[in-house]
Amino acid sequence: MSRPIRIIGQTATWLGLAALVAALAQGPAFSPVADGHGELRLSMAHLAERLVPCRPLTEEERLALPPTRRVTEICERGRSPTVIELRLDGELLVRETVTAAGWHNDGRAYLVTTFAVPAGEHRLRMSLRDTPRDEGFDMEKEFTLRLESGDAALLEVGDGDVRLKAPDRH
């Protein structure tokens, strides 16, 4: 093949490589949330009630323990699963039963999830069950959620407190 054609071929190869790189290295754009939407994050790290409540030791039981370890209460380790439910304007966002962490289910119940939420004002209702029962909730809270497009709000569920943190634009 003649020299000019070879040079054209080689140039085309490297331009082709550059074009392929260029085509995918900075785009096409991807939208993690749709336009006109914000994000609601739920982060829960919640210590639920014990499955079996602690009970005081009888005097006999206490005396049976070594003198340095004479506690007054005995507690089993297991904790109840935590049921969490979120409703946005009455519509169910999530309802999840989270078991307590750890081998003996004695840790916190952890949950992190996100939801795309249309911009605007919403009613957010959180219900939580963290005692060993089958129905009903132990805690219910309602918040007003104001989100603009691209905003992220955080609902943080701790051991005792629940906070909704939304970007303050005022």
């Binding site: 392929l20 790189v21 949330v33 336009d35 916190r108």
Partner: protein, 527 residues
Amino acid sequence: MKSDAGGTRPGPAARTLARMEGLFSRAFGGENNPFHHLGALTIFFFYVALVTGIYLFIFYRTSLEGAWESVEYLTREQWYAGGIMRSLHRYASDAAVITLGIHLVRELVRGRMKGPRWFSWITGMPLVWIVIVFGISGYWMVWDQLAQYVAVSTAQLVDWLPIFTDPMSRNFISNEAVSSRLFTLIAFIHLVGLPIVLVLGIWFHLLRIRYPRINPPRKLMLGSMAGLLALSVVFPVFSHPPADLDRVPVSLDIDWFYLAIFPLQAVTSEGVVWALGTGGTILLAILPWLPPRKREAVAEVHLPDCTGCGFCAEDCPYGAIDMVARTDGRNFELEAKVNADLCVSCGICTGSCPSSSPFRQREPLTTGIELPQFPIDRLRREIDQERGRADNSILLLGCDHGPTVDALASDDIHTLSLPCVGMTPPASIDYAMRATGYAGVVIAGCEGCDCHHRLGERWTQERIERIRQPALRKRVPRERLLSVWLKVGQEKRLASQVEAFRNTLEESRKDDGDKNPQGADAREVVQ
């Protein structure tokens, strides 16, 4: 007349690939065809990323607060140096993904993961993961909105696995929660950890390969560098706005080479990403054994013909031959020993052995090292098939992986397909002309730097040029020898070159027509 060793021939996919690659050979020439240097090009692109990365690091601030600004400074204020370095750093890393991907597919299509080559194949798998994690960790470093998205998505992927009780994602729920320690850890992984792991991984990948081609030809380095540099100048890389966890990025210009898993994760789930990643890896990893195939017999040493010279060990492309202490009491220090786990049955060692001389008067002919399925005695018998009527004939030695020679067989062309042309002992070329009396010999093997067995084509040329032992004797008239290096599927080009060669042979014969051709019975005695 034709003969072949009955080895596996390239399938339709390999032929299609060869046809496509042939276009690049036309532009670059076989030896500089980028497709023949994909592994080396990948290493080269990483090297570019390393050098540019060191430059970036000089100005980089490894903290949540300083990272974005320091990168921004490089990109905008120092656009003429830092900006170009930054763009090159990204584009070279992306180019590495392209060459890596084609390298993988190419080895797959050509079936070069079977047999003892499983090792290179399997050690290639973790490299894919290392490279992807390397790239992803790099995107954290900018700490812009894209980095934020990558961090959040990575955390979600990690949280899907039952590793941490306290989810990693909790680090990224708000600006206050972001852990600068975690950020420093990721930076450390990208700057120190993964470079070391990658180098070790590549070293391991090449462990069973003798003389691996680590550097691509200069022409390819310069050309690809020019392309990426031009891209860096014309389309420099920019950051997104700084990370802000009170916001969620609405639109991201992502690098699909490294970050495509995150959109996939967004539209499917973490579980799907893990399933595809591990499932795909496992599927690829078992390919070398699918379908199970009987292994070809490996090379065998014949001690009475081995002087322990070590040529075969020097030439074996897969390091399958060890030189060990003599076991048969003969007065040599060493002997060759084949490691069956490493031998790919290419026969190149037969071509290396000084004892591989068809001139030796011995029935059957033996040599120091040979393949049981294609012993040197068979090679001599094949060559001798035309004895008595060879003076107008051409001996065409081909291989099972290059251009198919069988179709060229005719009354005056005797073809023979070897496992690799590197198997041809130089003495057999001499023998074919002097003893059998062929008018000419053609060696037709895989194109430059593309030998299926890696080094057969190179050793053959070096033996003919007398820069490698055993060298083709000076007395062999080079004008009666033609070597052609082509791809499978390029049989037409082979045919026309052989035709032209035959014409020149005929003309030169006419010129010295009165001289007698070599006496066909003049068997030369060597031992």
